[in-house]
Subunit: 131 residues, 2 copies
């Protein structure tokens, strides 16, 4: 990454994620900012989210079969997506980095950089409605 400048848009993107709290999608961040700044561009939101993730100010959450999300919580934790309503929630479980690393028998020369652990299920709300 070369030099980065402080722009209003970058601040708006970071602030939007902090305001929206729970793992917003880039689309949600875009819509949130648009209320006050209707001319912001979606590409700007995507680009700045990536910059902020690269800088370590946000965490990227990879969500299978759906738009990715960003998390303002920097502490390692895991997520679950309801396959019915699509919402993403935090899992209540401790960090497993140590356990997972210790289970790798042979890296086969790979430089392992990161891992993702992600759950899928049905949230209580949607469970109820099925009856």
């Amino acid at each position: 990454m070369a030099v980065t400048r402080n722009t209003i848009q970058r601040d708006l993107v970071l602030q939007a994620v902090l305001d929206l709290k729970n793992h917003p999608t880039p689309e949600e961040v875009y819509e949130h900012i648009r209320k006050q700044h209707p001319t912001i561009s979606k590409g700007t939101v995507y680009r700045n989210l990536n910059v902020l993730v690269d800088k370590g100010l946000l965490l990227k959450v990879d969500v299978p079969d759906s738009a990715n999300r960003v998390d303002h919580t920097l502490k390692s934790h895991y997520h679950i997506r309801c396959k019915t309503c699509g919402k993403v929630f935090d899992m209540d479980m401790p960090d497993m980095t140590g356990e997972i690393k210790s289970m790798i028998r042979d890296t086969k020369g790979f430089e392992i950089e990161k891992y993702g652990l992600f759950f899928t299920g049905v949230c209580p709300e949607c469970s109820k409605e099925k009856e």
Copy 2:
């Protein structure tokens, strides 16, 4: 799922995955079949891969930031993607389903259906070329 019929296309899709062995993308499956059956449609490949996954004959592999893949190996195992060349490899580590389940403190009323554990890194080939 309603009644399913046995079609030539379905067989071709399954056989292609078995032939290609390592976690092909739908695109790769499509290209493989096309060599012998140039009129097969990409939609047919996607649909049948989904049907075969639903039937439990193949495993779906969710790959962050890239096309998903299917695996002909049905035994639970994990994958790593080289962020440089994009190739996907098997991890050499035992199943962790028990450990992961036992770490969940509170499901908060969620019906947890499945989890995915996925690694990212740089493969030995690409590591070498960086020097």
